[in-house]
C-alpha cells in the first residue's frame, strides 16, 4: 500500500477571530496517511484552532484545507467523516456506553446487527467489553476517555483528531493511556492528529511533532530530532530542559563557531542559525550533554560552583554557577562514585561543541 504523503494538507491557512489578530499565520502542513502527528505548543499558540478548522467547527479566514486532495472548507463537520476525541470526553450523558458508540453508526444508517458487531469490537479494543450498558457517569475518568476514543474510531473515520484528550487524567493514568492510544494507532493504522501542550506526551506518542508558537509551526520533525536538534531557541526551550548562554559570534566556519559570552569567555558551538561574525546568538545545551570531569579532548571545559543539589531518585539535578549563568543545570546519574557533589564545591564541566547549538537570539 503506497501511503499518501499529502493525506491532509493545510495550504496557506490563516485564521483570525476578530479581524485584528491572526491566530494562525500562513500554515502549510502536510500530514501523511496513517501518521500520528502531534501539534504541540503553549496555550494560545493556535494549535487547537488548527484542529477545529480541520474538524469543521471553524472556517479558515484564508487558504484551504485538503483531505485526500478534496478541499473541505465548505463541507459541514458531519459530512467530513473525521472522528474527534474532546478534551472533556464529550460523552452523551443520557446514553449508555453502547448507545454512545452506536450513535455515529445509527446516523449512518448502518444495519442493527452490524452496529452490534462494530460496537463490540470497538469496546474490546479499549478493553471495556463489560461496560456497554453503563452510563458514562458511572465510569472513571480513564474509562470515559477510552469510551471517547472508541466512539471516535467506531465508524472507521479517515482521520481522528484528539484535542488534549488526557489533560484531565492523573499522571499514572495519563501515561498508561498514552501507550494505549499509541498501540491502538499502530494496530489500526488510522491517521491521528493529536493536540497537546504536554511535551512528554508528544515525544512518547508521535511519528512527527509540529511545534506551534505564535500561530506558526516552529519546527516539524520526529521526536528525537526535535529534542536533539532544535532549529530555534523557542523549540529548544519548549522541548525538554535547556541551558542557555547569550553571546556574540566572534568567529565562524562551517562546523564550528566561537561565541563570546557576556563575561568575556569564549566557547565553541555548533552554528545552526548564525551565519556571520558579530551576530547575536543564544547557545543551547541539553543538561545531560554536559559532563563532570571531562576528558582532555573535549572542546569546552570550564569550572563551575555548585549552588544547589536536588535529589531525584535515579539522578541528581545539580545547579551550577558557571560562565555567568547561575541557572546552569546538570543531570548526574546517581552512583557511589559521585560523592563529591556537595554544595559549594567547585567542579570541572565539559561538553562537545557539536552538542552546543548556536541558535537565534530571542
Amino acid at each position: 500500500m503506497s501511503k499518501n504523503e499529502q493525506f491532509v494538507r493545510f495550504d496557506k491557512v490563516d485564521k483570525s477571530y476578530d479581524g485584528k489578530v491572526l491566530v494562525v499565520k500562513d500554515l502549510n502542513l502536510d500530514i501523511a496517511e496513517g501518521e500520528f502527528i502531534t501539534m504541540l505548543g503553549p496555550s494560545g499558540s493556535g494549535k487547537t484552532t488548527c484542529l477545529m478548522m480541520l474538524a469543521g467547527f471553524e472556517t479558515p479566514t484564508n487558504g484551504e484545507i485538503f483531505l485526500e486532495t478534496n478541499p473541505i472548507s465548505n463541507i459541514p463537520p458531519h459530512k467530513r467523516g473525521i472522528g474527534m476525541v474532546f478534551q472533556n470526553y464529550a460523552l452523551f450523558p443520557h446514553m449508555t456506553v453502547y448507545e454512545n458508540l452506536a450513535f455515529p453508526l445509527k446516523v449512518r444508517k448502518v444495519p442493527k446487527d452490524e452496529i452490534d458487531k462494530k460496537v463490540d469490537k470497538a469496546l474490546a479494543m479499549v478493553s471495556l467489553s463489560e461496560f456497554g450498558q453503563r452510563m458514562p457517569g458511572q465510569l472513571s475518568g480513564g474509562q470515559q476517555q477510552r469510551v471517547a476514543v472508541a466512539r471516535a474510531l467506531v465508524f472507521d473515520p479517515k482521520v481522528v483528531l484528539m484535542d488534549e484528550p488526557l489533560g484531565a487524567l492523573d499522571k499514572n493514568l495519563r501515561e498508561s493511556m498514552q501507550y494505549e492510544i499509541k498501540h491502538i494507532h499502530e494496530s489500526i493504522g488510522v491517521t491521528v492528529v493529536y493536540v497537546t501542550h504536554d511535551q512528554g506526551e508528544a515525544l512518547t506518542m508521535s511519528n512527527r511533532i509540529a511545534v506551534f508558537n505564535d500561530g506558526k509551526v516552529q519546527q516539524l520533525s520526529s521526536p528525537d530530532k526535535l529534542y536533539e536538534e532544535p532549529v530555534n531557541s523557542f523549540v529548544a526551550e519548549f522541548i525538554g530542559e535547556n541551558n542557555t548562554f547569550a553571546g556574540e559570534v566572534t568567529d565562524i566556519n562551517k562546523n564550528q563557531c566561537k561565541v563570546k559570552l557576556g563575561n568575556g569567555t569564549e566557547i565553541l558551538a555548533n552554528p545552526i542559525r548564525v551565519k556571520a561574525k558579530g551576530e547575536k546568538t543564544i547557545v543551547s545545551l541539553r543538561p545531560e550533554r554536559a559532563i563532570i570531569d571531562p576528558k582532555e579532548n573535549m572542546q569546552n571545559k570550564h569550572k563551575g560552583k555548585i549552588e544547589e543539589v536536588i535529589y531525584h531518585g535515579d539522578h541528581t539535578r545539580v545547579r551550577v554557577n558557571m560562565l555567568g549563568n547561575s541557572e546552569f543545570i546538570l543531570k548526574v546519574p546517581n552512583s557511589s562514585a559521585r560523592m563529591d557533589i556537595k554544595l559549594g564545591n567547585e567542579i570541572n564541566i565539559g561538553w562537545d561543541s557539536h552538542d552546543c547549538r548556536a541558535l537565534d537570539p530571542k
Binding site: H78, G81, V107
Partner: protein
C-alpha cells in the same frame, strides 16, 4: 450483622451508637433552635390559617349551632311528611333567639344556599313571629307563608344537620345531594363551575405550551450567546419579572384594547378595517396573551439554568460523529434539556392554574378562571366554605399534576438551577 455493630464500644466502654448520639445531640439542639423561629413563624402564619381555611370547607356546624333544639326534635322525623308540632315549636324557639340576637340573617343566608327562597320566608317569619301566641306553632308558622307547608324546605333544614359535610365539594363540580340523598347534577343552565374548571385547565395547558415554545429559543440564545449579549438578553427577560404584575397587566390592557396600540397597528398596516377591529381583550385571547408574557420568565429561567450546564462540545461531538445539526439537536441536546422543560412546565402550569389578577383584569366573562370564582365567593357572596372547598380542589388538581409528572419524568429529574 446489626447485632455485631451494636456490640462495638468506644475506648471508654460506652456503646458506640450511644456515644455518637451524645456527641451529636448538642449540634442537633443547636440546629433546631436556629430553625425554630422560622418553624413557629410558618406554623402561625401558614399552616394554621391555611388549615383553618381548609377546615371551613367541610365544617358545617354553623346552622346546627343556630338551631340546636330543632335538630334534637328532628332526630325522630323521617322526612317524608311535614314534621310534627314538636319540631315547629323547637324551630320557633331557636329562631326567636336568633332574631333577638340579630343573627337571623346568617341563618337565612346559609339556608338559602341549601334551597332558594328561604331568605324571604325567614324574613317574613321574623316579622310575624312577634305576634305568635303560645301553642300550636305548626299552624302559626305555616300560616306565615305557603312555603312553610312545603316539606322540601324542612328537608333542606334537616340536610344541614350533620356537623361536617362535603356538599361544597359537590357544588364545586356542579352536583348536589337531592332530597332523596342521591348525588345528581344541577340543571344544565347552572353548571358554571365545570365550565370554569375545564377552562382553567385549558388556559393553564395552552399557556404552558406557548411559554415553552417561546422560552426554549430564548433560553438557548441566553445559554449560547457570548457573555456581553447574553447579559443584555437576560436583563430583557428579567426586567418584566421585576415589574409589578399589575403594571404589566395594565400595559397589556393598553396594548390590546380595541382602540389600543396593537389594533391601531393592524389598522395602519391594513390588516383589518378600522370599523372591524378585533376584540383581543376581555376574552380568552387577552388571558392567553397576558398570562403567557407574564409567566414566560418562569419557563426561561429553569431552561436556561439547565442549558447552561450542557457543554457545547456535546453538540460538536454529535456533529463530528456524523449527526446532522437536526439529528444532533433532537438526539443529544433536547433530551438533556428535559429536566429543565419539566421544571419550567410544572412551574408555569401550577402558577397558571391558580392565576387570578390577570384573568380578572383582561379576561372578561369568557376569560375568567376558577380562581376568580374563588375570589368572588370570598369577597362577594361571603361563602368562605365554598371558596375554600374550591381552593382545596385546585390544590388537589395541582398535586395530581405533580404526581403524574413524577410518574412520567421523575421528580428528581427536575432542575431549577
Amino acid at each position: 450483622m446489626s447485632s455485631e455493630t451494636k456490640k462495638i464500644l468506644t475506648t471508654d466502654g460506652i456503646p458506640l451508637e450511644e456515644s455518637l448520639k451524645k456527641s451529636e445531640r448538642k449540634n442537633k439542639i443547636k440546629a433546631f433552635l436556629l430553625v425554630a423561629p422560622l418553624l413557629f413563624f410558618l406554623l402561625i402564619t401558614y399552616v394554621f390559617p391555611i388549615g383553618e381555611m381548609l377546615f371551613r370547607s367541610i365544617d358545617d356546624r354553623m346552622v346546627s349551632k343556630m338551631l340546636p333544639k330543632t335538630y334534637v326534635a328532628m332526630e325522630k322525623w323521617d322526612g317524608k311528611e311535614l314534621p310534627s308540632e314538636e319540631v315547629f315549636e323547637a324551630f320557633y324557639l331557636d329562631y326567636k333567639i336568633l332574631v333577638e340576637n340579630k343573627t337571623a340573617g346568617k341563618l337565612s343566608t346559609q339556608l338559602n344556599y341549601e334551597k332558594n327562597g328561604f331568605k324571604s320566608v325567614l324574613k317574613k317569619l321574623a316579622r310575624k313571629q312577634k305576634k305568635f301566641t303560645e301553642g300550636n306553632y305548626k299552624e302559626q308558622i305555616m300560616a306565615v307563608h305557603k312555603r312553610w307547608r312545603d316539606v322540601d324546605y324542612w328537608r333542606a333544614i334537616k340536610r344541614r344537620a350533620p356537623e361536617y359535610s362535603y356538599s361544597k365539594y359537590l357544588k364545586g363540580i356542579d352536583m348536589y345531594e337531592n332530597e332523596d340523598g342521591n348525588i345528581v347534577q344541577v340543571s344544565e343552565d347552572r353548571r358554571i363551575h365545570r365550565i370554569l374548571w375545564t377552562r382553567t385547565l385549558e388556559v393553564a395547558f395552552f399557556v404552558t405550551v406557548f411559554c415553552f415554545l417561546m422560552a426554549y429559543p430564548i433560553a438557548y440564545l441566553l445559554a449560547t450567546l457570548p457573555m456581553k449579549y447574553s447579559n443584555l438578553l437576560m436583563i430583557c427577560v428579567l426586567l418584566p419579572f421585576w415589574t409589578s404584575l399589575l403594571v404589566r397587566t395594565a400595559s397589556w390592557m393598553i396594548l390590546l384594547q380595541q382602540q389600543g396600540i396593537v389594533n391601531d397597528f393592524f389598522v395602519f398596516t391594513g390588516l383589518v378595517a378600522d370599523d372591524n377591529r378585533p376584540e383581543m381583550m376581555y376574552n380568552k385571547t387577552g388571558t392567553y396573551v397576558a398570562m403567557t408574557q407574564i409567566l414566560l420568565p418562569f419557563m426561561v429561567l429553569p431552561l436556561y439554568s439547565v442549558m447552561k450546564t450542557i457543554s457545547p462540545s456535546l453538540m460538536r461531538a454529535g456533529k463530528s460523529l456524523g449527526g446532522t445539526p437536526f439529528v444532533t439537536f433532537f438526539k443529544i441536546y433536547f433530551p438533556l434539556t428535559i429536566p429543565g422543560i419539566g421544571a419550567g412546565c410544572l412551574l408555569v402550569f401550577i402558577l397558571a392554574i391558580g392565576y387570578y389578577i390577570t384573568p380578572a383584569l383582561v379576561g372578561g366573562a369568557s376569560g375568567t378562571l376558577i380562581s376568580n370564582q374563588i375570589a368572588f365567593h370570598m369577597k362577594s357572596t361571603l361563602d368562605w366554605s365554598f371558596a375554600s372547598a374550591m381552593g382545596l380542589m385546585l390544590l388537589a388538581g395541582v398535586l395530581a399534576v405533580y404526581w403524574v409528572y413524577n410518574k412520567l419524568v421523575g421528580i428528581d429529574n427536575i432542575k431549577l438551577g
